[in-house]
């Protein structure tokens, strides 16, 4: 690649933020990020964190101004808050051991329409603590479904999706 010296929007940044976010869900957040660079792209509304393999990162500098996107879009930063994306959930789904709830197919169906659901926690597999926000929602096949806010309502749980995989269809793109 022809490497031009230019100020590049695609620069390393956000690793600590992302690793600390992930440590709530996975045993070893550095392990799930191994081999990947965290790249921060700033724009008017905030920033995006991208995950790219090191070999890809090395090419970014020279292409900078033309890059539309690279690697996985892992999170957005808005006013200092980290908002995880669907692809981050998918990336770590097999490593999640905390702050998750597993839902049966019929409830996944509701959630993937972007709807909130109220469930009885009894009978559901989950590991929830007060510090879990957002919670990773998984399907029974172990796959990631949504990042959601979970509130206790008497003896039930209200699960409000923040972003769910149904978005891939609803976005229409």
């Amino acid at each position: 690649m022809r490497v031009e010296e230019e100020v590049c929007r695609y620069r390393r940044g956000g690793y600590e933020l992302l690793a600390s976010f992930l440590s709530r869900y996975v045993g070893d957040s550095q392990r799930v990020l191994r081999g990947l660079e965290v790249v921060m792209v700033e724009h008017e509304a905030g920033a995006e964190l991208l995950l790219v393999p090191s070999r890809v990162y090395r090419l970014l500098g020279g292409l900078c101004s033309l890059v539309y996107t690279a690697g996985l879009h892992a999170a957005s930063l808005r006013r200092g808050r980290l908002l995880p994306t669907l692809s981050l959930g998918q990336l770590v789904e097999h490593a999640i051991v905390e702050c998750y709830v597993v839902l049966p197919e019929r409830l996944v169906a509701k959630l993937t329409y972007g709807r909130s659901i109220i469930v009885e926690p009894r009978g559901l597999r989950h590991r929830l603590r007060d510090a879990c926000n957002p919670v990773a929602v998984l399907a029974e096949n172990g796959r990631f479904v949504a990042w959601a806010r979970v509130e206790r309502q008497a003896d039930k749980l209200l699960i409000k999706p923040l972003v769910d995989v149904g978005w891939y269809l609803r976005s229409g793109v």
Partner: protein, 359 residues
């Protein structure tokens, strides 16, 4: 003086057409072409072309096809699951599936809900992709560590298929001119969990000056085309197909393939493909570029589909480079897929050492 076709469209401003090109579009129409056109609601010029290409019986078979005759297919995302596991999940939900000659392809025989609306789809376990569209990458099998560029990449069907072949280990530069389609590519890469793609918003004709010459060992050009291979799927719009569309597309295609040739490194594989069965957009385009690039050699693909036709070496009295017979043609009425043409070119080295790859 303007050269006119029998249909009155001006050729003089289509500077990309050489003498052979002009001849390709000057066709004598017979009564039977008008009858065929009338019966199947297509332009008489197009009817004459189909008849020449496929013979009278083949042309009718093609034009008789209904959307339901074309196989529904998915490509299992082997980066996230495997064929057996996905098949079991979908069959449990009432889908009837069968295997195909491409090992990671499943044919959908029955779908209780649309195949593009399942949770497994949303979870990135597969991509809905016509069986014909899966052929160009499969039969050229890009290897891990081959530096790849996909010149007309969005929405990323074939980009993610290349990543699958390379086990997502090697950077793929995905170029497209349309921001809207690049957004779809971004969503698809995220859904499918493909990490190694850098998407560039760029006119691919400028790619060699931006990315450098002789840099890539796998160059895919899935060129914008008239989509003639999708004819069976578009009953209503057939009559809108015009010869002018072919001229428009092939001028751009020639320029794009020139760019692909420049990007290719020594010994690189260049895959030129369209979802069109038009010789004007395929063998003619390749022949034109071969004239100016003696370093390019059409080659047979690594794998051949069980049903295909070789590239055509002449059309409407115009002779193409005879090596284009190594191209692969998929006709919808024979393969039950969308129509596709794939031409594989190898770039030979100039002398010892040639143009090497460096990072």
């Amino acid at each position: 003086m303007k050269a006119m076709t029998p249909f009155g469209f001006a050729m003089a401003d289509r500077r990309c057409l050489d003498e052979k090109g002009v001849k390709l579009f000057s066709r004598r129409l017979e009564e039977r072409h008008y009858r065929l056109a009338e019966r199947y609601k297509v332009h008489p010029f197009m009817a004459a072309r189909y008849e020449e290409l496929l013979g009278p019986v083949g042309a009718r078979e093609l034009l008789e096809l209904q959307p339901g005759d074309i196989l529904r297919a998915i490509r299992v995302n082997t980066l996230r699951t495997n064929v057996d596991a996905l098949r079991e999940m979908l069959e449990e939900k009432g889908f009837a599936l069968r295997g195909y000659w491409i090992p990671y392809t499943l044919i959908v025989e029955e779908e209780p809900i649309p195949i593009g609306a399942t949770h497994e789809y949303m979870q990135g376990l597969y991509y809905v992709q016509g069986a014909g569209s899966q052929v160009p990458v499969y039969i050229t099998d890009p290897k891990p560590l081959q530096r790849a560029v996909d010149l007309c990449a969005a929405p990323g069907g074939k980009t993610s298929q290349i990543a699958q072949h390379q086990r997502d280990t090697t950077p793929i530069i995905a170029v497209d001119i349309s921001p809207r389609r690049l957004q779809a590519l971004k969503n698809n890469m995220n859904r499918l969990g493909v990490r190694s793609v850098i998407a560039l918003k760029l006119d691919a004709r400028l790619a060699p000056s931006v990315l450098g010459e002789s840099r890539f060992d796998y160059v895919l050009l899935d060129a914008p085309c008239t989509g003639e291979g999708l004819l069976p799927l578009e009953k209503g719009r057939r009559s809108e197909r015009r010869p002018e569309d072919l001229v428009d597309r092939l001028c751009l295609q020639i320029e794009l393939l020139e760019a692909a040739a420049r990007l290719a490194a020594c010994n690189a594989t260049i895959v030129y493909t369209t979802c069109s069965i038009a010789p004007e957009e395929n063998e003619y385009v390749v022949s034109r570029v071969l004239e100016r690039h003696p370093e390019l050699e059409p080659v047979e693909p690594l794998v051949k589909p069980p049903v295909y036709r070789p590239g055509v070496t002449g059309f409407n009295g115009v002779e193409f480079d005879e090596r284009v017979s190594r191209c692969i043609r998929l006709y919808p009425h024979e393969t039950r897929t969308e129509g596709f043409t794939v031409c594989v070119l190898r770039k030979r080295c100039a002398g010892i050492g040639g143009e090497g790859m460096s990072s």
